[in-house]
């Protein structure tokens, strides 16, 4: 307040709040929690600094072409050319495929759990989905290689034979194997992100105002109309947040993808059934063992790219999820 008249007590001193003796337990608890919280923060900052320092020489020597170029030659002796383009594009590509495949599955699962299954079955389903989220990536990768690849190859074959006239599903080679493609890697990403998207969506669905659903039913809506016109529009934001959280995991994914994708610097723009693709994280893992010191710096720069992108995606995701869980209530 500016004017003294408007608020005659403007100069009144404010009391100090949150004062008074605290129990010892309270103080210890506060100390430990703030230490832990700061520790996590400091750790993240340290990793970032470490990555930046080790990546700097490579970034400086390669320039912007590090991001968009598509040659990676880092043999002993010669000046290395390190351009990550196809790997970055590949990461985007399989993330996109994974989201496209995974989101409908996750939303359908969450819908079943919240609105259709009797409560005991819903609990079981929830536990199974949460267990899926805890599966180590190696296990998913091995499953992908041994069990899933033959199945997905069959689907790829059908796609290619029926929709092959459409460039996305075309294959150039003479005797296609239908394996090692971005299509299959996308499926693996889907398997990895479905549990995350499902649990976020389930949370949001279960906080849905039942008054809206009853209102829609009383207007003569069927189940599908309720889902598509009331439930989904209201929870759109939260589902998007869940998708981004899943994406945050998928971007950093290495082992599982490495098992099922043929990495290649011959950039594959859109032919998702071709056995050529990219994934930054898997590439780092693939090269790491035999990298020369200079190449090592390039791989660190690749790690930095993943780290920064993951950080951004996760931050946006948390913001969206927090906001929309509040709003649905």
């Amino acid at each position: 307040m500016e004017s003294e008249l408007a608020n005659p007590k403007a100069n009144q001193a404010r009391r100090k709040l949150n004062v008074g003796p605290r129990s010892r337990g309270d103080r210890v608890f506060f100390g430990i929690t703030s230490l832990a919280a700061n520790f996590a923060f400091v750790l993240v900052a340290l990793i970032l600094v470490f990555l930046m320092v080790s990546a700097w020489p490579a970034l400086q020597s390669q320039g912007l072409a590090f991001i968009y170029g598509s040659t990676w030659v880092a043999d002993e002796g010669a000046e290395p050319i390190m351009q990550l383009g196809p790997m970055i594009w590949g990461s985007i590509q399989i993330a996109f495929i994974g989201i496209l495949l995974g989101t409908p599955m996750a939303v359908a699962t969450a819908y079943l759990i919240v609105f259709m299954l009797p409560s005991r079955a819903a609990k079981v389903a929830t536990t199974v989905v949460d267990l899926m989220a805890a599966l180590p990536s190696v296990v998913i990768g091995l499953w992908g290689l041994i069990v899933f690849t033959p199945v997905a190859a069959h689907w790829a074959q059908i796609l290619n034979q029926t929709l092959g006239w459409f460039p996305v599903f075309a294959i150039e080679g003479e005797q296609p194997t239908y394996v090692d493609s971005p299509f299959i890697a996308g499926w693996i990403v889907a398997v990895m992100i479905v549990p995350i998207i499902t649990s976020v969506t389930r949370e949001i669905f279960s906080q849905m105002d039942s008054g809206l659903i009853n209102g829609a039913l009383a207007l003569g809506a069927g189940r599908w109309a309720v889902l598509s016109r009331v439930i989904l529009p209201t929870s759109r934001g939260g589902i998007l947040g869940g998708v981004l959280l899943g994406l945050g995991r998928a971007i950093g994914e290495t082992v599982a993808i490495l098992y099922v994708l043929q990495l290649s610097f011959d950039i594959n723009w859109y032919q998702i059934l071709e056995p050529r693709g990219g994934a930054v994280a898997s590439f780092i893992l693939a090269r790491f063992g035999e990298a020369t010191p200079l190449e090592f710096q390039g791989l660190m720069a690749a790690g930095l790219v993943i780290f920064v992108v993951t950080l951004i995606v996760n931050t946006i995701a948390s913001l969206i999820v927090n906001r929309s869980t509040r709003r649905v209530k």
Binding site: L217, A218, L219, G220, V230, P233, T234
Partner: protein, 262 residues
Amino acid sequence: MTNSTPSASTLSAEDISVWFGERQVLSNVNLVFPANQVTALIGPSGCGKSTFLRTLNRMHELIPGAGLAGSVLLDGVDIYAPEVSPVDVRINIGMVFQKPNPFPTMSIRENILSGLKLSGRKTANADELVETSLRRASIWNEVKDRLNDQALSLSGGQQQRLCIARSLAMDPKVLLMDEPCSALDPGSTRRIEETIEELSESMTVVIVTHNMQQAQRVSHQTAFFLADENTPGGVVEFGSTEQVFNTPVDPRTNDYVNGHFG
């Protein structure tokens, strides 16, 4: 489309008993809601008024474990007959809830048209339908310049009248209202009561209320529900509002309407 007001219908509940799982909450309710009459359902909390109301438009059956006996006739046709679709029932028999529930992602206009969209119907003249529905719920003047605003930008009382308008857009023959004013201020309550009076010219209205004055102001006939502890609820007294409030036959009715319990 000329907005012909549909002829009101007579709704009758015959021997309605209701269960949730094994637990029976209503037993042998017989009530007739004549065309163009407003019927108030009164009674203490938990005696089954809302449950009974939901049997009248087949919303009850959506609850897992719900059970029902008896029949509900709309102009003589059993709404629970196997050849009758629940969707048609709910379109003919509209419902307004205790808590205003406009769809938050839709504009005012879209809320009015939401019933058509949700039930997969079309209208020749959407603008006209929006206007007549809002006029019938006497909220047109307040919202006519902001039809594309979000529904949640309205006050609670306006939201409730929007919900009434949304039901009216479906041209229901019967309108069920479950404590439509309990979350509202006296001003909004009075306006909704006026609306109910006008609506009864073109439809049959059943309203649940805890407000004795409201029951006397808006209704032609009143049914008093009661459930003794651990027994299913039922109708203790049913008659003209005048009679139920002034010369109740049952002493329990007398106690209730005079505020001695409940």
